[in-house]
Amino acid sequence: MNKGFALQVTEKSHENVNKCLQCLKCTSGCPIASWMDYKPNQINRMIQMEGKTKVLNSSTIWLCVGCQTCVTRCPMKIDIPHLMDTLREIAVAENISKEPNITIFHQLFLNSVKKWGRVHELELIGLYKLKSGQLFADMQLGQQMFMKGKLKLLPEIVKDKKGIKEIFKKVK
């Protein structure tokens, strides 16, 4: 048992999971619930019960796409997408991810923003393929997009590179 997890999540997210009524509105409306190992309402209950290991090792926190359906419908207005952001941040800090490809994709995306100020899709896709090992996925699609001018060879670069670097440094 990891004492203090509920408190840690509450302090970091400012969300009170104890308000959860287990009405299942979140899970019923969640477009991704059928792929999650624990449903959003179960994550709430597991936080209450100090189930840190299970929560941080769940696929749920990575599969949540932040569509906001749950919080829109939640009668207690618990911001579950924000809760998921918080749980991911804790998981990353502890080097845990049940969905490593999703984690890698997000990390590479932010690296691109840090480097250029805007995302460079072509480079992101290339690096993601190398890192995830999915080398030959979507080859035809990528080619088609490139031919239509939808994937640029060169990045767009923000002039105030220092400002962008500073933001990344500050929030670390």
């Binding site: 477009p31 991704i32 792929w35 599969l63 796409v65 932040g66 569509c67 906001q68 359906t69 919080v71 829109t72 207005k77 924000h82 952001d85 918080t86 991911r88 941040e89 990353v92 969905e99 490809n101 999703i102 984690t103 890698i104 994709f105 997000h106 990390q107 995306f109 932010l110 923003v113 100020g117 805007r118 995302v119 899709e121 896709i125 993601y128 995830s132 996925a137 979507d138 699609l141 088609q144 997009m145 239509k148 001018g149 939808k150 994937l151 640029k152 767009e156 923000v158 002039k159 105030d160 400002g163 962008i164 500073e166 933001i167 990344f168 500050k170 929030v171």
Partner: protein, 281 residues
């Protein structure tokens, strides 16, 4: 009417035709868009997924640049729109976050800039009646469903510009263009968003459901107002050959604009058959 314009990364790349049609249509409708100088990426899904504060600061920098322009922001991408609004709200609420942003940018955050979705701007500032008057080529043969996706109406438990569960703005705009707008229950269902690369199977399943439901409603195409929805719907529809257009492209066609074909040529799913039919209709 003048707005600060935040295109976001997609409108310069994967959603190029959305960017081009946005610029052209706004000009025709009398909306002057002034691109935010030196804007940066809002962080997309990755930002808030890995570092919530980073997402706030990245979007915050854009809000400050728009503030310098002294204009409200028009955003065509739903994800950018959501991120900018989220940041605005959190910066207004937290002195710490505001201070952090002000230190880095050496500017003061006033919170007076409003972030609005392009659909909201066209719907509320130009209005359906005016658009109806401006239509030169009513698109009578076009049977379409309006697809809003998640983040247009759902930043939302706050003050959205359209209904959360049953939005109408795009339906009404399409109707003004002469389209036959079909009813369906999937207007705000998720397309899978940022999972398109790392979990493509999930996205294929979600998109297939949307395409099937659109088809069942009698529609021959889906109309979107988000570059991420549009890309997912085209890329992950598993050979369904079902066209997915931007609402600005539809407006452009109805306004009789010349550049329309150039936008449509950039689509991954051909729109030729659809456009051919419209001429007969």
């Amino acid at each position: 009417m003048k707005f600060s314009y935040y295109p976001g990364c997609s409108l310069h790349s994967t959603g190029k035709e959305y960017g081009e049609s946005t610029q052209a249509v706004c000009q025709a409708l009398g909306i002057e868009l002034v691109e935010i100088p030196d804007w940066n990426c809002c962080g997309a899904s990755a930002g808030h997924s890995l570092n919530h504060d980073l997402a706030v600061q990245l979007s915050g920098r854009n809000l400050l640049l728009a503030q310098k322009q002294g204009l409200d922001i028009a955003v065509p991408c739903s994800a950018c729109y959501h991120n900018l609004r989220q940041a605005d709200e959190e910066l207004k609420a937290s002195t710490d976050k505001r201070r952090e942003l002000e230190q880095v940018t050496e500017m003061q955050f006033t919170g007076r800039v409003q972030t609005r979705h392009l659909l909201d701007v066209i719907y509320h500032e130009v209005g359906v009646d005016n658009i109806r008057k401006l239509v030169k080529k009513p698109l009578q043969g076009l049977k379409a469903v309006a697809y809003y996706g998640c983040l247009i109406t759902r930043p939302s438990h706050k003050d959205g510009f359209d209904s959360v569960e049953q939005p109408q703005s795009m339906d009404n705009l399409l109707d003004a263009c002469g389209c036959k707008v079909m009813k369906w229950s999937y207007k705000t269902d998720c397309c899978g968003a940022g999972l398109s690369l790392p979990q493509d199977k999930i996205v294929v399943e979600l998109v297939t459901k949307l395409i099937n439901m659109a088809r069942q409603s009698g529609a021959e195409c889906i109309i979107t107002a988000c570059p991420m929805c549009q890309a997912n719907l085209e890329m992950r529809q598993d050979g369904a050959n079902f066209p997915v257009l931007y609402f600005t492209e539809v407006l452009g066609m109805a306004l009789g604009m010349k550049d329309t074909q150039g936008w449509l040529n950039k689509h991954l799913v051909s729109t030729n058959e659809l456009v051919g039919k419209m001429k007969i209709g």
